[in-house]
Amino acid sequence: MTATTRRERRGTIAGLILLLLAWEAAGQGGWVAGGALPAPSQIALRAWLDRGDYPAHILGTLRTATAGFVVGSLLAFVLGVAYTRWPRLQRAMSGVDVTIFAMPAIAIVPILIIALPGDAPRVVLSALSVYYPAMVAVVLGLRQADPRLLDLVRVHGGGAVAALRWVRLRGGLPTLLSGLRVAAPAAVLGSLLAEFGSGSSAGLGTYLIGSLGRADPARLWGIGLAATALSALAYLAVGLVAARFAGDTVPASTPVGTAAGQAAGEVRGWVARSMPLLAFLLPFALWEAGTWALRLTDVSEIVFRDPAGVLAHLIWDEGAARNRGDIAAALAQTLPFALAGVALGLAVAFALAIVSLLWPPLGATLLPLSLVTQSMPLVALTPLVVLIFGRDTGGILAITVSVTFFPAFVTIAQGLALVPPGLRDLISAWGGGRGIWLRRVAIPWATPYLCAALRLAAPRALLGVMIAEWLATGTGLGNLLNEARGRMDYGTIWSVAVVSVSVAVALHTAAASLERRVLRRFAFAS
């Protein structure tokens, strides 16, 4: 066991060194995209020359990302506890939660910058990026408590608060912390994306945007690597705290699960029937309430649009037809790329995950690499990808595929790792070869995980395309948003935000419904 992991680690390190050497050679030779990929030594030299710029920008991003992480985690904790206590509240809030998860963060950057002063947009976007993964971890951690321990608390007269205090909180801590570990890089990413739009205060995102105009790939790469290092450090820092608590709540024996079947907060009748409608309406209600709250501040009212304001811009205002046309045309440019990117990313991930089953060295190399990318602000590295793959189709597709492939590969490969080894022996015992095993076991087994990956990847792909459009290609929704920002066309800013968030939520909902159907078909859920 230890020997294999050590050999694997040695293999990974050797692979990384080889990669670095190849990179150096390619950079020195200027083989990739006419020198768009500088050698590591050139990047290091540039970063040394720029050393005076870095501290302020790194501190700027670190400050807002930390604030966002704290705010987002606290919000996730409070709501997660409330959801565990009142499952109906979670159902009612599901629309808001899915919106926060699926929305392409860049789409609301201009709105945040209009509405909020100073660093607040960066902190808010960072907090929103942290909220969903952290909230899911809190709920999961609190709900996985041993049902017999909960019975024990009840038998001694303890209520929900006692159960939370003595059993759920401490027991859920490792899950909660591993959720925060995933959320920490998201905080950095949220801050970076908001910096793309603000462009004034110090931050690595500001620095990256400011350096785009100078044809200096080495500097862009330096900033990209600094941003990557920052989020990797955030991941490791939270990981260190998590490691302190990991394992000490692993049950010393397996639960028999007597009361586990009791459905939490089962609702019937009209309450249950009206839940989806409430969940659908709540995001709009919060939006309306938010615009009312902003009317109380001294921010000019002309910059805000409530739901009616956006409908007016798209339906009955003067020039509504043109507004609609602009957005439809932009959407027609954006959506195909997002869908093609998802399809390509998932297909490659699925194929490679299956192939690594037959040829394990592939998986041993790809899985650690894919896991590492989870702590990278991939979409924020768009300028680098565009530099290499070009400002057109290739660049956009490269972004979308890279933001969808890695998480999908992790999901599918980890799912396939759960195939009981006995199944393979069974097929061999009956004289079946690899082909039979793949067709009858591995591929059906991986299908539900493919669907889960689709649900996670679809909103991300839309974000990737929009960032590429905003920063590089000058097409689609991302560009429309950037242009509208430039000419202070608030109606369009709000409409593009609403349309792109709606599209992302629709993609997510469609993928989730497909996933449910597949899970039922494969009998993973009753």
């Binding site: 041993d146 017999r148 321990l149 019975d151 024990l152 608390v153 009840r154 038998v155 001694h156 007269g157 303890g158 006692a162 003595w166 059993v167 401490r170 027991g171 000490d248 709540t249 692993v250 049950p251 010393a252 024996s253 397996t254 639960p255 028999v256 007597t258 009361a259 009753s526």
Partner: protein
Amino acid sequence: MGARDIRIDAVERRFARAGQAPLLALDRVSLDLPAGSFTALIGPSGCGKSTLLRLIAGLDAPDGGAVMVGGAAPRVLQREGRLGIAFQDAALLPWRTVTGNVRLPLDVTGHRDRESLARIADLVALVGLAGFEQALPAQLSGGMRQRVAIARALVTEPDVLLLDEPFGALDQILRRTMNAELQRIWMRRATTTLLVTHGIDEALFLADRVVVMHGPPGRIATIVDVPFARPRPLTLFADPAFRALEDEVAAALYGRVPGSAA
């Protein structure tokens, strides 16, 4: 406060099943457990014995009939912190030591007076875990964990003790030892006790009465009185009178036992 009696009066419990008629888990079950008595409940899987125990614990509510403990609803007993319970699996908090786990009911009920806290050390010693006070559950064997669970069930000096197959996961040798220990502990302070078990010998060794259940739908088939005086020695398991009683319970469980004269 002392032991309390338990009255189960024509209790019914149904469980909804997807796409099928509801399962009748308990069909008008009536049973009286006198204060300070030790009753064993035995029957095949799915006969409703654990359901009955959950009703007495106030963890579940009947669809018909009533469960009264000391003349009040089980919830009252819960609120007063006068219940003790142990499950088939020890169900310990992995992050708490032996002492900490035994202390949990005191934390939940808020009865952290000096007298109650002092009881923890006595109980840990009583279940034979002296020297392991600061050990974590992962460092203990299965039998030791189960003894922690028994100590935890007793720490509030409960009026009613509910044991749901507490030794079901232990091997036969350890089970006998634990049976003898439970008897010793129980005799120090007679508490109205209900033991749910699959073991005929265990039921007869510990209880005043063995209630044999059939089901589903769950109902009481026979009640066998156990005449042996306490303390019962481990040699009782080999006693012909004990063996005869085992056959009687088995006959009630399976309908008839081949080879038995009765």
